[in-house]
Amino acid sequence: MADQHSEPTPPDWADFFLKWTCPSEQHEEILGDLHEQFTIDASALGETVARRRYLLQVLKFSRPYFLKRKINALSEPATYPTPFFVNADMIKNYYKIAFRTFQRGHIYSFINLFGLAVGLAGVMLIISYVFYELSFDKHYSNSDRIYQLVMENRKTSPIERNIVVPVALGPTLTQEVPEVEAFTSFNAYELVFLKNEKPLRSIR
Protein backbone atom coordinates (compact mmCIF):
# COMPACT_ATOMS: atom_id res chain seq x y z
CA MET A 1 0.00 0.00 0.00
CA ALA A 2 3.00 2.26 0.52
CA ASP A 3 3.95 1.80 -3.13
CA GLN A 4 0.96 2.69 -5.33
CA HIS A 5 2.49 1.01 -8.39
CA SER A 6 2.71 -2.41 -6.77
CA GLU A 7 -0.13 -4.90 -6.96
CA PRO A 8 -3.15 -4.21 -4.74
CA THR A 9 -2.96 -5.87 -1.36
CA PRO A 10 -5.74 -6.52 1.15
CA PRO A 11 -5.82 -4.32 4.28
CA ASP A 12 -3.39 -5.30 7.02
CA TRP A 13 -5.86 -4.66 9.82
CA ALA A 14 -8.15 -7.35 8.40
CA ASP A 15 -5.26 -9.79 8.59
CA PHE A 16 -4.66 -8.79 12.20
CA PHE A 17 -8.32 -9.38 12.96
CA LEU A 18 -8.13 -12.83 11.36
CA LYS A 19 -5.01 -13.68 13.33
CA TRP A 20 -6.87 -12.62 16.45
CA THR A 21 -9.87 -14.88 15.80
CA CYS A 22 -8.27 -17.94 14.17
CA PRO A 23 -5.94 -20.51 15.73
CA SER A 24 -2.29 -19.76 14.97
CA GLU A 25 -1.50 -23.09 13.31
CA GLN A 26 -3.97 -22.24 10.52
CA HIS A 27 -2.95 -18.61 9.93
CA GLU A 28 -0.63 -19.44 7.04
CA GLU A 29 -2.99 -21.53 4.95
CA ILE A 30 -6.08 -19.35 5.61
CA LEU A 31 -4.31 -16.06 4.89
CA GLY A 32 -2.67 -17.63 1.85
CA ASP A 33 -6.03 -18.72 0.46
CA LEU A 34 -7.60 -15.31 1.22
CA HIS A 35 -4.76 -13.40 -0.44
CA GLU A 36 -4.89 -15.64 -3.51
CA GLN A 37 -8.64 -15.09 -3.76
CA PHE A 38 -8.08 -11.34 -3.38
CA THR A 39 -5.57 -11.32 -6.23
CA ILE A 40 -8.05 -13.20 -8.46
CA ASP A 41 -10.92 -10.88 -7.47
CA ALA A 42 -8.80 -7.75 -7.89
CA SER A 43 -7.86 -8.59 -11.47
CA ALA A 44 -11.38 -9.77 -12.39
CA LEU A 45 -13.64 -7.32 -10.54
CA GLY A 46 -11.39 -4.44 -9.47
CA GLU A 47 -9.75 -3.59 -6.22
CA THR A 48 -12.80 -2.07 -4.50
CA VAL A 49 -14.97 -5.14 -4.95
CA ALA A 50 -12.06 -7.41 -4.07
CA ARG A 51 -11.44 -5.47 -0.87
CA ARG A 52 -15.10 -5.62 0.13
CA ARG A 53 -15.20 -9.36 -0.54
CA TYR A 54 -11.98 -9.83 1.39
CA LEU A 55 -13.36 -8.07 4.47
CA LEU A 56 -16.56 -10.13 4.27
CA GLN A 57 -14.54 -13.35 4.04
CA VAL A 58 -12.36 -12.38 7.00
CA LEU A 59 -15.49 -11.62 9.00
CA LYS A 60 -16.94 -15.01 8.04
CA PHE A 61 -13.85 -16.74 9.39
CA SER A 62 -14.72 -15.57 12.89
CA ARG A 63 -17.30 -18.35 13.14
CA PRO A 64 -17.74 -20.61 16.17
CA TYR A 65 -15.61 -23.42 14.73
CA PHE A 66 -12.46 -21.27 14.62
CA LEU A 67 -13.30 -19.20 17.70
CA LYS A 68 -13.71 -22.36 19.80
CA ARG A 69 -10.39 -23.69 18.60
CA LYS A 70 -8.72 -20.34 19.29
CA ILE A 71 -10.14 -20.23 22.82
CA ASN A 72 -9.14 -23.85 23.46
CA ALA A 73 -5.61 -23.09 22.23
CA LEU A 74 -5.40 -20.05 24.52
CA SER A 75 -6.60 -21.91 27.60
CA GLU A 76 -3.96 -24.62 27.19
CA PRO A 77 -0.63 -23.95 28.91
CA ALA A 78 2.17 -23.33 26.44
CA THR A 79 4.62 -25.72 28.07
CA TYR A 80 4.16 -28.73 30.29
CA PRO A 81 6.37 -29.56 33.28
CA THR A 82 8.27 -32.84 33.16
CA PRO A 83 7.46 -34.76 36.34
CA PHE A 84 9.80 -37.20 38.04
CA PHE A 85 9.67 -40.52 36.19
CA VAL A 86 8.51 -42.44 39.27
CA ASN A 87 5.11 -40.87 39.63
CA ALA A 88 2.18 -42.16 41.68
CA ASP A 89 -0.31 -41.28 38.95
CA MET A 90 1.72 -43.02 36.27
CA ILE A 91 2.23 -46.13 38.40
CA LYS A 92 -1.52 -46.23 38.97
CA ASN A 93 -1.92 -45.94 35.23
CA TYR A 94 0.55 -48.78 34.58
CA TYR A 95 -1.45 -51.04 36.87
CA LYS A 96 -4.67 -50.03 35.19
CA ILE A 97 -3.27 -50.71 31.71
CA ALA A 98 -1.83 -54.05 32.86
CA PHE A 99 -5.18 -55.04 34.35
CA ARG A 100 -7.02 -54.12 31.15
CA THR A 101 -4.51 -55.99 28.99
CA PHE A 102 -4.99 -59.04 31.20
CA GLN A 103 -8.74 -58.74 30.85
CA ARG A 104 -8.60 -58.48 27.10
CA GLY A 105 -6.82 -61.79 26.45
CA HIS A 106 -7.60 -63.50 29.71
CA ILE A 107 -6.80 -67.09 28.61
CA TYR A 108 -3.35 -66.20 27.30
CA SER A 109 -2.82 -63.94 30.28
CA PHE A 110 -3.64 -66.86 32.57
CA ILE A 111 -1.19 -69.13 30.71
CA ASN A 112 1.52 -66.52 30.94
CA LEU A 113 0.90 -65.79 34.60
CA PHE A 114 0.66 -69.50 35.46
CA GLY A 115 3.93 -70.21 33.65
CA LEU A 116 5.62 -67.36 35.45
CA ALA A 117 4.32 -68.56 38.82
CA VAL A 118 5.48 -72.15 38.18
CA GLY A 119 8.89 -70.90 37.06
CA LEU A 120 9.33 -68.67 40.09
CA ALA A 121 8.21 -71.47 42.44
CA GLY A 122 10.73 -73.83 40.82
CA VAL A 123 13.53 -71.32 41.17
CA MET A 124 12.69 -70.72 44.83
CA LEU A 125 12.64 -74.47 45.59
CA ILE A 126 15.96 -74.99 43.80
CA ILE A 127 17.54 -72.06 45.66
CA SER A 128 16.37 -73.34 49.05
CA TYR A 129 17.65 -76.86 48.24
CA VAL A 130 21.04 -75.63 47.06
CA PHE A 131 21.45 -73.39 50.11
CA TYR A 132 20.53 -76.31 52.36
CA GLU A 133 23.09 -78.54 50.68
CA LEU A 134 25.78 -75.88 50.97
CA SER A 135 24.99 -75.15 54.62
CA PHE A 136 26.88 -78.16 56.05
CA ASP A 137 30.26 -77.98 57.88
CA LYS A 138 30.38 -74.20 57.59
CA HIS A 139 32.06 -73.98 61.01
CA TYR A 140 35.21 -75.58 59.57
CA SER A 141 37.74 -73.56 57.66
CA ASN A 142 38.15 -74.93 54.11
CA SER A 143 34.67 -76.44 54.40
CA ASP A 144 34.43 -76.46 50.61
CA ARG A 145 37.19 -79.13 50.58
CA ILE A 146 35.30 -81.56 52.83
CA TYR A 147 33.49 -84.44 51.12
CA GLN A 148 31.36 -87.25 52.37
CA LEU A 149 31.62 -90.74 50.89
CA VAL A 150 28.36 -92.32 49.84
CA MET A 151 27.82 -95.90 48.76
CA GLU A 152 25.40 -96.59 45.94
CA ASN A 153 23.58 -99.87 45.67
CA ARG A 154 22.80 -100.21 41.98
CA LYS A 155 21.09 -103.54 42.31
CA THR A 156 17.99 -101.91 43.73
CA SER A 157 15.57 -99.81 41.82
CA PRO A 158 15.60 -96.93 42.49
CA ILE A 159 19.30 -96.90 43.38
CA GLU A 160 19.78 -96.68 47.14
CA ARG A 161 22.45 -94.47 48.64
CA ASN A 162 23.93 -95.22 52.01
CA ILE A 163 26.41 -93.29 54.10
CA VAL A 164 27.74 -96.56 55.59
CA VAL A 165 30.94 -97.39 53.73
CA PRO A 166 33.66 -100.03 54.33
CA VAL A 167 36.14 -99.11 57.07
CA ALA A 168 39.09 -99.73 54.75
CA LEU A 169 37.95 -97.15 52.19
CA GLY A 170 39.34 -94.15 54.13
CA PRO A 171 42.98 -95.25 54.49
CA THR A 172 43.02 -96.82 51.03
CA LEU A 173 41.81 -93.66 49.27
CA THR A 174 44.27 -91.51 51.25
CA GLN A 175 47.15 -93.73 50.12
CA GLU A 176 46.17 -94.33 46.51
CA VAL A 177 44.32 -91.18 45.41
CA PRO A 178 46.64 -88.14 45.52
CA GLU A 179 43.77 -85.61 45.79
CA VAL A 180 42.64 -87.07 49.12
CA GLU A 181 44.66 -85.35 51.86
CA ALA A 182 43.15 -86.86 55.00
CA PHE A 183 40.12 -88.77 56.15
CA THR A 184 38.06 -89.27 59.21
CA SER A 185 35.15 -91.48 60.00
CA PHE A 186 32.23 -91.18 62.34
CA ASN A 187 29.55 -93.38 63.72
CA ALA A 188 25.99 -92.44 63.28
CA TYR A 189 24.86 -94.96 65.87
CA GLU A 190 26.23 -97.48 68.41
CA LEU A 191 26.08 -101.26 68.21
CA VAL A 192 25.35 -102.75 71.63
CA PHE A 193 25.80 -106.47 72.23
CA LEU A 194 23.81 -107.97 75.04
CA LYS A 195 24.78 -110.97 77.16
CA ASN A 196 22.23 -112.09 79.77
CA GLU A 197 20.26 -108.88 79.19
CA LYS A 198 23.37 -106.81 80.04
CA PRO A 199 25.47 -104.82 77.61
CA LEU A 200 28.72 -106.71 76.88
CA ARG A 201 30.65 -103.82 75.40
CA SER A 202 29.97 -101.10 72.88
CA ILE A 203 31.79 -100.83 69.57
CA ARG A 204 32.54 -97.40 68.33
Partner: protein, 108 residues
Protein backbone atom coordinates in the same frame (compact mmCIF):
# COMPACT_ATOMS: atom_id res chain seq x y z
CA UNK B 1 -25.45 -47.24 8.74
CA UNK B 2 -22.37 -47.90 10.84
CA UNK B 3 -20.46 -45.00 9.38
CA UNK B 4 -19.65 -41.43 10.35
CA UNK B 5 -22.12 -38.74 9.48
CA UNK B 6 -21.35 -36.68 6.40
CA UNK B 7 -23.31 -33.52 5.68
CA UNK B 8 -24.41 -32.50 2.20
CA UNK B 9 -21.85 -29.69 1.93
CA UNK B 10 -19.11 -31.87 3.36
CA UNK B 11 -19.91 -34.52 0.75
CA UNK B 12 -19.71 -31.90 -2.02
CA UNK B 13 -16.34 -30.70 -0.69
CA UNK B 14 -15.07 -34.27 -0.42
CA UNK B 15 -16.12 -34.98 -4.02
CA UNK B 16 -14.47 -31.76 -5.17
CA UNK B 17 -11.23 -32.77 -3.45
CA UNK B 18 -11.42 -36.01 -5.44
CA UNK B 19 -12.15 -34.09 -8.68
CA UNK B 20 -9.26 -31.63 -8.22
CA UNK B 21 -6.80 -34.48 -7.61
CA UNK B 22 -3.52 -33.21 -6.08
CA UNK B 23 -4.45 -29.53 -6.56
CA UNK B 24 -7.20 -29.33 -3.94
CA UNK B 25 -6.89 -26.43 -1.50
CA UNK B 26 -9.20 -23.71 -0.19
CA UNK B 27 -9.30 -21.40 -3.22
CA UNK B 28 -9.55 -24.05 -5.94
CA UNK B 29 -12.23 -25.99 -4.07
CA UNK B 30 -14.31 -22.87 -3.48
CA UNK B 31 -13.93 -21.83 -7.15
CA UNK B 32 -14.85 -25.29 -8.41
CA UNK B 33 -17.94 -25.45 -6.16
CA UNK B 34 -18.93 -21.92 -7.20
CA UNK B 35 -18.68 -22.85 -10.85
CA UNK B 36 -20.61 -26.10 -10.52
CA UNK B 37 -23.30 -25.29 -7.97
CA UNK B 38 -23.76 -21.59 -8.75
CA UNK B 39 -24.36 -20.87 -5.11
CA UNK B 40 -22.18 -18.55 -3.03
CA UNK B 41 -19.45 -20.67 -1.46
CA UNK B 42 -17.36 -18.87 1.15
CA UNK B 43 -13.73 -19.72 1.79
CA UNK B 44 -14.38 -20.04 5.51
CA UNK B 45 -17.15 -22.59 4.91
CA UNK B 46 -14.83 -24.63 2.69
CA UNK B 47 -12.07 -24.43 5.29
CA UNK B 48 -14.32 -25.58 8.11
CA UNK B 49 -15.64 -28.44 5.97
CA UNK B 50 -12.07 -29.47 5.10
CA UNK B 51 -10.92 -29.42 8.73
CA UNK B 52 -14.00 -31.41 9.77
CA UNK B 53 -13.34 -33.94 7.00
CA UNK B 54 -9.75 -34.21 8.17
CA UNK B 55 -10.89 -34.81 11.75
CA UNK B 56 -13.13 -37.60 10.41
CA UNK B 57 -10.08 -38.94 8.48
CA UNK B 58 -11.80 -38.71 5.09
CA UNK B 59 -9.07 -36.41 3.78
CA UNK B 60 -5.41 -36.00 4.60
CA UNK B 61 -3.42 -32.83 4.07
CA UNK B 62 0.08 -31.50 3.79
CA UNK B 63 1.55 -28.05 3.29
CA UNK B 64 2.55 -27.42 -0.32
CA UNK B 65 5.09 -25.03 -1.78
CA UNK B 66 4.72 -21.25 -1.30
CA UNK B 67 3.54 -19.14 -4.23
CA UNK B 68 3.96 -15.42 -4.94
CA UNK B 69 0.19 -14.83 -5.25
CA UNK B 70 -0.21 -15.83 -1.63
CA UNK B 71 2.46 -13.52 -0.27
CA UNK B 72 4.93 -16.38 0.05
CA UNK B 73 2.55 -18.43 2.15
CA UNK B 74 2.24 -22.16 1.76
CA UNK B 75 -1.07 -23.77 0.84
CA UNK B 76 -2.54 -26.82 2.50
CA UNK B 77 -3.16 -29.43 -0.18
CA UNK B 78 -5.89 -31.96 0.60
CA UNK B 79 -6.18 -35.51 -0.74
CA UNK B 80 -8.95 -38.09 -0.27
CA UNK B 81 -7.95 -40.97 2.00
CA UNK B 82 -8.89 -44.59 1.42
CA UNK B 83 -11.56 -44.21 4.10
CA UNK B 84 -12.94 -41.16 2.28
CA UNK B 85 -12.97 -43.07 -1.00
CA UNK B 86 -14.89 -45.94 0.61
CA UNK B 87 -17.30 -43.42 2.13
CA UNK B 88 -18.00 -41.85 -1.28
CA UNK B 89 -18.45 -45.25 -2.93
CA UNK B 90 -20.81 -46.34 -0.15
CA UNK B 91 -22.94 -43.20 -0.53
CA UNK B 92 -23.05 -43.61 -4.27
CA UNK B 93 -24.04 -47.24 -3.90
CA UNK B 94 -26.82 -46.30 -1.47
CA UNK B 95 -28.13 -43.62 -3.77
CA UNK B 96 -28.09 -45.94 -6.77
CA UNK B 97 -30.04 -48.51 -4.78
CA UNK B 98 -32.61 -45.90 -3.78
CA UNK B 99 -32.93 -44.66 -7.37
CA UNK B 100 -33.43 -48.17 -8.64
CA UNK B 101 -36.12 -48.76 -6.03
CA UNK B 102 -38.25 -45.83 -7.27
CA UNK B 103 -41.27 -47.06 -9.26
CA UNK B 104 -40.74 -46.48 -12.98
CA UNK B 105 -43.36 -43.79 -13.82
CA UNK B 106 -41.58 -41.29 -11.57
CA UNK B 107 -38.45 -41.15 -13.70
CA UNK B 108 -40.05 -40.94 -17.14
Amino acid sequence: MARAYLGEFEELVLLTVAVLDSDAYGVTIAAELNRRTERPVSLSGVHVALYRLEEKAFVSSELGSPTAARGGRRKRIFTVTTLGKHMLLDMRELRNQLWESIPLPFIS
